[in-house]
Protein backbone atom coordinates (compact mmCIF):
# COMPACT_ATOMS: atom_id res chain seq x y z
CA UNK A 1 0.00 0.00 0.00
CA UNK A 2 2.51 2.56 1.21
CA UNK A 3 5.03 1.36 -1.34
CA UNK A 4 2.69 1.77 -4.28
CA UNK A 5 1.75 5.27 -3.17
CA UNK A 6 5.41 6.27 -3.02
CA UNK A 7 6.00 4.70 -6.43
CA UNK A 8 3.09 6.73 -7.79
CA UNK A 9 4.48 9.90 -6.21
CA UNK A 10 7.84 9.34 -7.90
CA UNK A 11 6.10 8.75 -11.21
CA UNK A 12 4.28 12.05 -10.99
CA UNK A 13 7.51 13.68 -9.83
CA UNK A 14 8.83 13.07 -13.35
CA UNK A 15 6.01 15.14 -14.84
CA UNK A 16 6.58 17.87 -12.26
CA UNK A 17 10.26 17.91 -13.10
CA UNK A 18 9.37 18.32 -16.75
CA UNK A 19 7.76 21.68 -15.96
CA UNK A 20 10.57 22.61 -13.57
CA UNK A 21 13.17 22.04 -16.26
CA UNK A 22 11.26 24.09 -18.83
CA UNK A 23 11.07 26.89 -16.27
CA UNK A 24 14.83 26.67 -15.64
CA UNK A 25 15.95 26.39 -19.27
CA UNK A 26 16.98 22.75 -19.09
CA UNK A 27 15.29 22.70 -22.43
CA UNK A 28 16.24 23.06 -26.08
CA UNK A 29 18.53 26.08 -26.50
CA UNK A 30 17.18 28.82 -28.76
CA UNK A 31 16.99 27.42 -32.30
CA UNK A 32 19.15 29.34 -34.79
CA UNK A 33 19.22 27.00 -37.78
CA UNK A 34 16.91 25.14 -40.14
CA UNK A 35 16.94 21.99 -38.02
CA UNK A 36 13.70 22.52 -36.13
CA UNK A 37 12.75 19.08 -37.44
CA UNK A 38 15.18 17.50 -34.97
CA UNK A 39 13.45 19.26 -32.09
CA UNK A 40 10.09 18.08 -33.39
CA UNK A 41 11.26 14.49 -33.59
CA UNK A 42 12.74 14.68 -30.08
CA UNK A 43 9.64 16.32 -28.66
CA UNK A 44 7.39 13.74 -30.29
CA UNK A 45 9.44 10.91 -28.81
CA UNK A 46 9.37 12.66 -25.44
CA UNK A 47 5.58 12.98 -25.44
CA UNK A 48 4.88 9.43 -26.61
CA UNK A 49 7.35 7.83 -24.25
CA UNK A 50 6.12 10.09 -21.43
CA UNK A 51 2.56 8.87 -21.91
CA UNK A 52 3.71 5.24 -22.03
CA UNK A 53 5.82 5.70 -18.89
CA UNK A 54 3.11 7.34 -16.82
CA UNK A 55 0.50 4.87 -18.05
CA UNK A 56 2.54 1.75 -17.29
CA UNK A 57 3.78 3.09 -13.96
CA UNK A 58 0.35 4.02 -12.67
CA UNK A 59 -0.97 0.65 -13.85
CA UNK A 60 1.74 -1.08 -11.82
CA UNK A 61 0.87 1.05 -8.78
CA UNK A 62 -2.80 0.07 -9.21
CA UNK A 63 -1.85 -3.62 -9.36
CA UNK A 64 0.24 -3.26 -6.20
CA UNK A 65 -2.73 -1.85 -4.31
CA UNK A 66 -5.51 -3.92 -5.83
CA UNK A 67 -3.77 -7.31 -5.70
CA UNK A 68 -1.72 -6.95 -2.53
CA UNK A 69 -1.71 -9.98 -0.24
CA UNK A 70 -4.74 -10.33 2.03
CA UNK A 71 -5.91 -13.17 4.24
CA UNK A 72 -6.62 -16.32 2.15
CA UNK A 73 -6.37 -14.38 -1.10
CA UNK A 74 -5.05 -16.47 -3.94
CA UNK A 75 -3.48 -15.58 -7.26
CA UNK A 76 -5.15 -16.52 -10.51
CA UNK A 77 -3.49 -19.37 -12.40
CA UNK A 78 -3.20 -18.28 -16.01
CA UNK A 79 -0.19 -19.55 -17.94
CA UNK A 80 -0.38 -17.28 -20.95
CA UNK A 81 -2.69 -15.37 -23.21
CA UNK A 82 -1.22 -15.30 -26.69
CA UNK A 83 -4.06 -13.16 -28.08
CA UNK A 84 -3.40 -10.39 -25.57
CA UNK A 85 0.34 -10.59 -26.02
CA UNK A 86 0.22 -10.45 -29.80
CA UNK A 87 -2.06 -7.42 -29.49
CA UNK A 88 0.43 -5.71 -27.23
CA UNK A 89 3.29 -6.63 -29.58
CA UNK A 90 1.35 -5.23 -32.55
CA UNK A 91 0.59 -1.95 -30.75
CA UNK A 92 4.26 -1.60 -29.75
CA UNK A 93 5.35 -2.24 -33.33
CA UNK A 94 3.03 0.47 -34.60
CA UNK A 95 4.35 2.88 -32.00
CA UNK A 96 7.93 2.10 -33.00
CA UNK A 97 7.12 2.68 -36.67
CA UNK A 98 5.46 6.00 -35.82
CA UNK A 99 8.67 7.05 -34.08
CA UNK A 100 11.11 5.63 -36.61
CA UNK A 101 9.62 6.70 -39.95
CA UNK A 102 9.85 10.50 -39.39
CA UNK A 103 13.27 10.05 -37.87
CA UNK A 104 14.60 8.33 -40.97
CA UNK A 105 13.07 10.97 -43.25
CA UNK A 106 14.77 13.77 -41.31
CA UNK A 107 17.99 11.81 -41.41
CA UNK A 108 17.90 11.55 -45.20
CA UNK A 109 17.68 15.37 -45.35
CA UNK A 110 20.49 15.52 -42.82
CA UNK A 111 22.95 13.59 -44.98
CA UNK A 112 22.01 15.10 -48.36
CA UNK A 113 23.43 18.62 -48.48
CA UNK A 114 21.89 21.11 -50.96
CA UNK A 115 23.81 21.83 -54.15
CA UNK A 116 24.12 25.61 -53.88
CA UNK A 117 25.41 25.52 -50.32
CA UNK A 118 28.35 27.61 -49.11
CA UNK A 119 31.39 25.32 -48.93
CA UNK A 120 33.54 25.78 -45.81
CA UNK A 121 36.12 23.50 -44.24
CA UNK A 122 36.57 23.36 -40.47
CA UNK A 123 39.78 21.97 -38.99
CA UNK A 124 40.00 20.83 -35.40
CA UNK A 125 43.24 20.44 -33.47
CA UNK A 126 44.14 20.23 -29.80
CA UNK A 127 42.56 22.50 -28.64
CA UNK A 128 41.37 25.10 -31.10
CA UNK A 129 39.60 25.54 -34.42
CA UNK A 130 40.56 27.00 -37.77
CA UNK A 131 38.68 27.33 -41.04
CA UNK A 132 39.26 27.38 -44.78
CA UNK A 133 37.22 28.67 -47.70
CA UNK A 134 37.73 27.63 -51.35
CA UNK A 135 38.37 31.23 -52.46
CA UNK A 136 37.70 32.79 -55.85
CA UNK A 137 37.89 29.61 -57.96
CA UNK A 138 35.39 27.88 -55.73
CA UNK A 139 37.53 24.74 -55.36
CA UNK A 140 39.36 23.55 -52.26
CA UNK A 141 43.04 22.89 -52.82
CA UNK A 142 44.21 19.35 -52.10
CA UNK A 143 45.46 18.70 -48.58
CA UNK A 144 47.50 15.92 -47.08
CA UNK A 145 48.68 15.35 -43.51
CA UNK A 146 52.29 15.13 -44.75
CA UNK A 147 52.12 18.81 -45.78
CA UNK A 148 51.42 19.95 -42.23
CA UNK A 149 54.15 22.08 -40.70
CA UNK A 150 54.46 25.26 -38.66
CA UNK A 151 54.03 27.56 -41.66
CA UNK A 152 51.43 25.42 -43.43
CA UNK A 153 49.05 24.70 -40.56
CA UNK A 154 46.33 23.63 -43.01
CA UNK A 155 48.37 20.91 -44.72
CA UNK A 156 47.67 22.41 -48.15
CA UNK A 157 49.50 21.04 -51.14
CA UNK A 158 51.74 24.01 -52.20
CA UNK A 159 51.91 22.78 -55.79
CA UNK A 160 48.14 22.58 -56.28
CA UNK A 161 46.87 25.59 -58.26
CA UNK A 162 43.44 25.35 -56.62
CA UNK A 163 45.13 25.76 -53.25
CA UNK A 164 46.71 29.13 -53.95
CA UNK A 165 43.58 31.24 -53.55
CA UNK A 166 42.12 29.26 -50.63
CA UNK A 167 41.16 31.61 -47.81
CA UNK A 168 42.71 30.57 -44.51
CA UNK A 169 41.19 31.68 -41.19
CA UNK A 170 43.69 30.84 -38.45
CA UNK A 171 41.63 32.35 -35.64
CA UNK A 172 38.82 30.25 -34.19
CA UNK A 173 36.15 32.81 -35.14
CA UNK A 174 34.03 31.98 -38.20
CA UNK A 175 31.63 34.41 -39.86
CA UNK A 176 28.60 33.10 -41.76
CA UNK A 177 25.99 34.85 -43.92
CA UNK A 178 22.43 34.49 -42.68
CA UNK A 179 19.83 32.33 -44.49
CA UNK A 180 22.45 30.60 -46.64
CA UNK A 181 22.94 26.85 -46.47
CA UNK A 182 26.45 26.06 -45.21
CA UNK A 183 28.02 22.68 -45.84
CA UNK A 184 31.01 22.03 -43.61
CA UNK A 185 33.75 19.57 -44.46
CA UNK A 186 35.32 18.54 -41.14
CA UNK A 187 38.95 17.53 -40.74
CA UNK A 188 41.09 16.86 -37.70
CA UNK A 189 44.85 17.29 -37.42
CA UNK A 190 45.42 15.12 -34.36
CA UNK A 191 42.63 13.38 -32.43
CA UNK A 192 38.87 12.97 -32.58
CA UNK A 193 36.93 16.21 -32.21
CA UNK A 194 33.29 17.07 -32.79
CA UNK A 195 31.92 20.29 -34.31
CA UNK A 196 28.88 21.28 -32.29
CA UNK A 197 26.94 24.52 -32.08
CA UNK A 198 24.06 23.98 -29.63
CA UNK A 199 21.83 26.50 -31.36
CA UNK A 200 22.32 24.73 -34.70
CA UNK A 201 21.50 21.31 -33.14
CA UNK A 202 23.57 19.23 -35.56
CA UNK A 203 26.95 17.77 -34.60
CA UNK A 204 29.51 15.58 -36.34
CA UNK A 205 32.83 14.08 -35.33
CA UNK A 206 36.11 15.12 -36.92
CA UNK A 207 38.23 12.04 -37.54
CA UNK A 208 41.93 12.29 -38.41
CA UNK A 209 42.78 10.60 -41.67
CA UNK A 210 39.39 11.15 -43.19
CA UNK A 211 36.76 13.80 -43.82
CA UNK A 212 33.22 14.09 -42.51
CA UNK A 213 30.37 16.32 -43.63
CA UNK A 214 27.68 18.39 -41.98
CA UNK A 215 25.27 21.01 -43.26
CA UNK A 216 22.94 23.59 -41.72
CA UNK A 217 21.40 26.97 -42.54
CA UNK A 218 21.77 29.76 -39.96
CA UNK A 219 18.47 31.60 -39.58
CA UNK A 220 19.12 34.13 -36.80
CA UNK A 221 21.90 36.72 -36.62
CA UNK A 222 24.10 36.47 -33.57
CA UNK A 223 27.26 35.07 -32.04
CA UNK A 224 27.20 31.39 -31.12
CA UNK A 225 29.80 29.24 -29.39
CA UNK A 226 31.42 26.35 -31.21
CA UNK A 227 32.02 23.47 -28.80
CA UNK A 228 33.91 20.21 -29.07
CA UNK A 229 31.46 17.42 -28.29
CA UNK A 230 33.85 14.46 -28.57
CA UNK A 231 36.37 13.91 -25.79
CA UNK A 232 39.73 15.09 -27.15
CA UNK A 233 42.17 15.26 -24.24
CA UNK A 234 42.52 17.14 -20.99
CA UNK A 235 41.64 20.53 -22.51
CA UNK A 236 38.47 19.17 -24.15
CA UNK A 237 36.42 21.62 -22.10
CA UNK A 238 38.36 24.67 -23.28
CA UNK A 239 38.21 23.83 -26.97
CA UNK A 240 35.81 26.60 -27.96
CA UNK A 241 35.28 28.75 -31.01
CA UNK A 242 32.84 31.38 -32.17
CA UNK A 243 30.54 31.49 -35.17
CA UNK A 244 29.17 34.93 -36.06
CA UNK A 245 26.01 34.89 -38.16
CA UNK A 246 25.58 38.26 -39.89
CA UNK A 247 24.13 39.94 -42.96
CA UNK A 248 25.49 39.20 -46.44
CA UNK A 249 27.39 42.49 -46.85
CA UNK A 250 29.04 42.34 -43.43
CA UNK A 251 30.08 38.80 -44.27
CA UNK A 252 31.54 39.95 -47.62
CA UNK A 253 33.48 42.71 -45.84
CA UNK A 254 34.89 40.25 -43.29
CA UNK A 255 35.77 37.82 -46.07
CA UNK A 256 37.73 40.47 -47.96
CA UNK A 257 39.98 40.99 -44.89
CA UNK A 258 41.13 37.38 -44.77
CA UNK A 259 44.49 36.20 -46.13
CA UNK A 260 44.80 33.64 -48.92
CA UNK A 261 47.23 30.76 -48.94
CA UNK A 262 49.63 32.31 -51.49
CA UNK A 263 50.27 35.27 -49.16
CA UNK A 264 50.89 33.28 -45.95
CA UNK A 265 54.05 31.65 -44.62
CA UNK A 266 56.31 34.70 -45.01
CA UNK A 267 56.60 35.65 -41.35
CA UNK A 268 59.61 33.67 -40.25
CA UNK A 269 61.95 34.95 -42.98
CA UNK A 270 61.89 38.66 -42.06
CA UNK A 271 64.06 40.17 -39.33
CA UNK A 272 62.68 43.38 -37.86
CA UNK A 273 61.86 43.00 -34.16
CA UNK A 274 58.22 43.98 -34.54
CA UNK A 275 57.77 41.38 -37.28
CA UNK A 276 59.26 38.74 -35.03
CA UNK A 277 56.78 39.42 -32.27
CA UNK A 278 53.95 39.05 -34.74
CA UNK A 279 55.27 35.81 -36.17
CA UNK A 280 56.12 34.54 -32.70
CA UNK A 281 52.46 35.02 -31.96
CA UNK A 282 51.48 33.14 -35.11
CA UNK A 283 53.95 30.42 -34.20
CA UNK A 284 52.46 30.07 -30.71
CA UNK A 285 49.00 29.79 -32.25
CA UNK A 286 49.98 27.22 -34.86
CA UNK A 287 51.90 25.22 -32.27
CA UNK A 288 48.82 25.27 -30.02
CA UNK A 289 50.83 26.67 -27.10
CA UNK A 290 48.04 29.04 -26.09
CA UNK A 291 45.69 26.12 -25.56
CA UNK A 292 47.51 25.49 -22.28
CA UNK A 293 49.37 28.78 -21.61
CA UNK A 294 47.03 31.74 -21.22
CA UNK A 295 48.15 35.21 -22.28
CA UNK A 296 46.19 37.07 -19.62
CA UNK A 297 47.80 35.64 -16.48
CA UNK A 298 44.98 33.22 -15.68
CA UNK A 299 46.08 29.76 -14.48
CA UNK A 300 45.49 27.00 -17.03
CA UNK A 301 47.01 23.57 -17.61
CA UNK A 302 50.36 25.27 -18.00
CA UNK A 303 51.58 28.51 -16.38
CA UNK A 304 50.42 31.70 -18.07
CA UNK A 305 52.95 33.52 -20.22
CA UNK A 306 51.95 36.97 -19.07
CA UNK A 307 54.74 38.59 -17.14
CA UNK A 308 56.69 35.43 -16.34
CA UNK A 309 59.82 36.58 -18.15
CA UNK A 310 62.56 37.52 -15.71
CA UNK A 311 60.52 36.66 -12.63
CA UNK A 312 61.54 34.10 -10.00
CA UNK A 313 59.86 30.70 -10.33
CA UNK A 314 59.52 27.93 -7.73
CA UNK A 315 59.95 24.35 -8.88
CA UNK A 316 58.29 21.23 -7.48
CA UNK A 317 61.41 20.33 -5.56
CA UNK A 318 61.29 23.75 -3.91
CA UNK A 319 64.31 25.26 -5.66
CA UNK A 320 63.83 28.80 -6.95
CA UNK A 321 65.31 30.07 -10.20
CA UNK A 322 65.05 33.02 -12.57
CA UNK A 323 62.86 32.62 -15.67
CA UNK A 324 65.46 33.83 -18.13
CA UNK A 325 65.84 33.06 -21.85
CA UNK A 326 67.79 29.85 -21.15
CA UNK A 327 65.19 28.52 -18.72
CA UNK A 328 62.33 29.16 -21.15
CA UNK A 329 64.19 27.57 -24.05
CA UNK A 330 64.93 24.53 -21.93
CA UNK A 331 61.29 24.31 -20.87
CA UNK A 332 60.32 24.17 -24.52
CA UNK A 333 62.92 21.62 -25.64
CA UNK A 334 62.98 19.49 -22.46
CA UNK A 335 59.58 20.40 -20.93
CA UNK A 336 59.62 17.93 -18.05
CA UNK A 337 63.13 18.64 -16.80
CA UNK A 338 62.05 21.54 -14.55
CA UNK A 339 58.43 21.35 -13.37
CA UNK A 340 56.84 24.42 -11.80
CA UNK A 341 55.16 24.17 -8.44
CA UNK A 342 51.49 23.37 -8.94
CA UNK A 343 51.69 22.02 -12.50
CA UNK A 344 51.71 18.49 -13.93
CA UNK A 345 54.53 17.22 -16.20
CA UNK A 346 52.31 16.76 -19.25
CA UNK A 347 53.79 19.16 -21.81
CA UNK A 348 54.94 17.39 -24.97
CA UNK A 349 58.48 17.94 -26.28
CA UNK A 350 58.81 20.58 -29.03
CA UNK A 351 61.97 20.23 -31.10
CA UNK A 352 62.09 23.71 -32.66
CA UNK A 353 65.11 25.19 -34.39
CA UNK A 354 66.93 28.16 -32.84
CA UNK A 355 65.11 30.77 -34.93
CA UNK A 356 61.70 29.49 -33.88
CA UNK A 357 62.86 29.29 -30.26
CA UNK A 358 63.99 32.90 -30.44
CA UNK A 359 60.63 33.93 -31.88
CA UNK A 360 58.70 32.23 -29.08
CA UNK A 361 60.95 33.62 -26.34
CA UNK A 362 60.85 37.12 -27.82
CA UNK A 363 57.09 36.85 -27.89
CA UNK A 364 56.90 35.74 -24.24
CA UNK A 365 59.26 38.54 -23.30
CA UNK A 366 57.08 41.04 -25.15
CA UNK A 367 54.12 40.03 -22.99
CA UNK A 368 55.63 41.69 -19.91
Amino acid sequence: MMASIVFAIFTLLVIVFNYYSIENDFWFPELASNWGALDTATLMTLIISGIVFVGLSLFICYCLVRFRHKENSKAEYQIENNKLESWLAAVTTIGVIILLAPGLMVYSDLINEPEDSLKIEAIGEQWTWSFRLPGADGFFGKTHPKHFDLNNSFGLDPTDQYAQDDILIKSNILHLPIDKAVSLSLRSKDVLHDFYVPQFRVKMDMVPGQLTKLWFEPTIEGRYEILCAEYCGIQHTNMRGLVVVESEEKYKKWLSEQVIFANTSIDITSNSNNQEILSGENLSISLGCIACHSLDGSKNVGPSWKGIFGTERTLINGTKLLADRLYIEESIIKPNSKILMGFAPIMPIYNLDDKELDLIVEYIESLN
Binding site: K142, T143, S185, G209, Q210
Partner: protein, 116 residues
Amino acid sequence: MIEEKFFKHPSFFPKTKPDKSHPIKLYLFAWLALFILSAMSYYVDYINLEGLIRWFLITILALMKAGLIVSVFMHLAWERVALIFTILLPPIFLILMLAIFANEGNAINVIRTTFN
Protein backbone atom coordinates in the same frame (compact mmCIF):
# COMPACT_ATOMS: atom_id res chain seq x y z
CA MET B 1 2.10 -42.17 -16.52
CA ILE B 2 4.82 -39.67 -16.10
CA GLU B 3 7.58 -42.15 -15.26
CA GLU B 4 7.07 -44.15 -18.43
CA LYS B 5 7.22 -40.96 -20.42
CA PHE B 6 10.60 -40.23 -18.90
CA PHE B 7 12.10 -43.67 -19.15
CA LYS B 8 11.09 -44.09 -22.77
CA HIS B 9 12.68 -40.76 -23.55
CA PRO B 10 15.74 -41.37 -25.77
CA SER B 11 17.74 -38.71 -24.00
CA PHE B 12 18.19 -40.97 -21.01
CA PHE B 13 20.64 -43.30 -22.61
CA PRO B 14 22.48 -41.02 -25.03
CA LYS B 15 25.12 -42.54 -27.24
CA THR B 16 28.13 -41.16 -25.41
CA LYS B 17 30.28 -42.53 -28.24
CA PRO B 18 28.56 -41.91 -31.60
CA ASP B 19 29.46 -44.62 -34.06
CA LYS B 20 32.67 -43.51 -35.79
CA SER B 21 33.93 -46.71 -37.34
CA HIS B 22 34.70 -45.13 -40.68
CA PRO B 23 37.24 -46.91 -42.86
CA ILE B 24 40.66 -45.26 -43.01
CA LYS B 25 40.03 -44.99 -46.75
CA LEU B 26 37.65 -42.12 -46.08
CA TYR B 27 40.31 -40.07 -44.34
CA LEU B 28 42.86 -40.83 -47.03
CA PHE B 29 40.36 -39.64 -49.61
CA ALA B 30 39.69 -36.39 -47.75
CA TRP B 31 43.43 -35.97 -47.34
CA LEU B 32 44.00 -36.38 -51.07
CA ALA B 33 41.14 -34.03 -51.92
CA LEU B 34 42.63 -31.36 -49.65
CA PHE B 35 45.97 -31.67 -51.41
CA ILE B 36 44.36 -31.31 -54.82
CA LEU B 37 42.31 -28.32 -53.73
CA SER B 38 45.35 -26.63 -52.18
CA ALA B 39 47.34 -27.30 -55.32
CA MET B 40 44.55 -25.79 -57.39
CA SER B 41 44.39 -22.63 -55.30
CA TYR B 42 48.17 -22.42 -55.48
CA TYR B 43 47.94 -22.85 -59.24
CA VAL B 44 45.42 -19.99 -59.44
CA ASP B 45 48.14 -17.75 -58.07
CA TYR B 46 50.90 -19.38 -60.14
CA ILE B 47 49.27 -18.62 -63.50
CA ASN B 48 48.45 -15.09 -62.28
CA LEU B 49 44.72 -15.09 -62.79
CA GLU B 50 43.49 -11.60 -61.97
CA GLY B 51 40.28 -9.87 -60.94
CA LEU B 52 36.96 -11.47 -60.09
CA ILE B 53 37.76 -14.94 -61.44
CA ARG B 54 40.83 -15.16 -59.16
CA TRP B 55 38.95 -14.04 -56.07
CA PHE B 56 36.01 -16.27 -56.87
CA LEU B 57 38.21 -19.34 -57.33
CA ILE B 58 40.27 -18.67 -54.20
CA THR B 59 37.18 -18.20 -52.04
CA ILE B 60 35.38 -21.23 -53.45
CA LEU B 61 38.41 -23.48 -53.05
CA ALA B 62 39.00 -22.24 -49.49
CA LEU B 63 35.39 -22.90 -48.57
CA MET B 64 35.54 -26.38 -50.10
CA LYS B 65 38.67 -27.19 -48.10
CA ALA B 66 37.07 -25.82 -44.94
CA GLY B 67 33.98 -27.92 -45.61
CA LEU B 68 36.08 -31.06 -46.02
CA ILE B 69 38.03 -30.48 -42.81
CA VAL B 70 34.97 -29.65 -40.73
CA SER B 71 32.73 -32.37 -42.03
CA VAL B 72 35.18 -35.27 -42.37
CA PHE B 73 38.16 -34.62 -40.13
CA MET B 74 36.11 -32.97 -37.39
CA HIS B 75 33.29 -35.52 -37.82
CA LEU B 76 30.65 -32.83 -37.96
CA ALA B 77 28.95 -34.72 -40.79
CA TRP B 78 28.15 -37.54 -38.40
CA GLU B 79 27.13 -35.45 -35.41
CA ARG B 80 23.52 -34.90 -34.43
CA VAL B 81 21.63 -32.13 -36.26
CA ALA B 82 21.32 -30.08 -33.07
CA LEU B 83 25.10 -29.78 -32.78
CA ILE B 84 25.57 -29.07 -36.48
CA PHE B 85 23.14 -26.16 -36.34
CA THR B 86 24.71 -24.80 -33.17
CA ILE B 87 28.12 -24.79 -34.84
CA LEU B 88 27.07 -23.35 -38.17
CA LEU B 89 24.67 -20.59 -37.11
CA PRO B 90 26.84 -18.12 -35.11
CA PRO B 91 29.25 -17.31 -37.98
CA ILE B 92 26.31 -15.53 -39.63
CA PHE B 93 27.16 -12.58 -37.36
CA LEU B 94 30.70 -12.63 -38.77
CA ILE B 95 29.33 -12.43 -42.29
CA LEU B 96 27.23 -9.39 -41.39
CA MET B 97 30.24 -7.82 -39.67
CA LEU B 98 32.21 -8.45 -42.87
CA ALA B 99 29.61 -6.69 -44.99
CA ILE B 100 29.46 -3.60 -42.75
CA PHE B 101 33.25 -3.35 -42.39
CA ALA B 102 33.76 -3.70 -46.15
CA ASN B 103 31.26 -0.91 -46.77
CA GLU B 104 32.98 1.30 -44.18
CA GLY B 105 36.46 0.59 -45.50
CA ASN B 106 35.43 1.45 -49.05
CA ALA B 107 33.78 4.69 -47.92
CA ILE B 108 36.92 5.87 -46.10
CA ASN B 109 39.11 4.88 -49.04
CA VAL B 110 36.96 6.92 -51.42
CA ILE B 111 37.21 9.93 -49.09
CA ARG B 112 40.98 9.63 -48.87
CA THR B 113 41.56 9.24 -52.58
CA THR B 114 39.27 12.17 -53.46
CA PHE B 115 40.34 14.71 -50.84
CA ASN B 116 44.05 14.00 -50.37
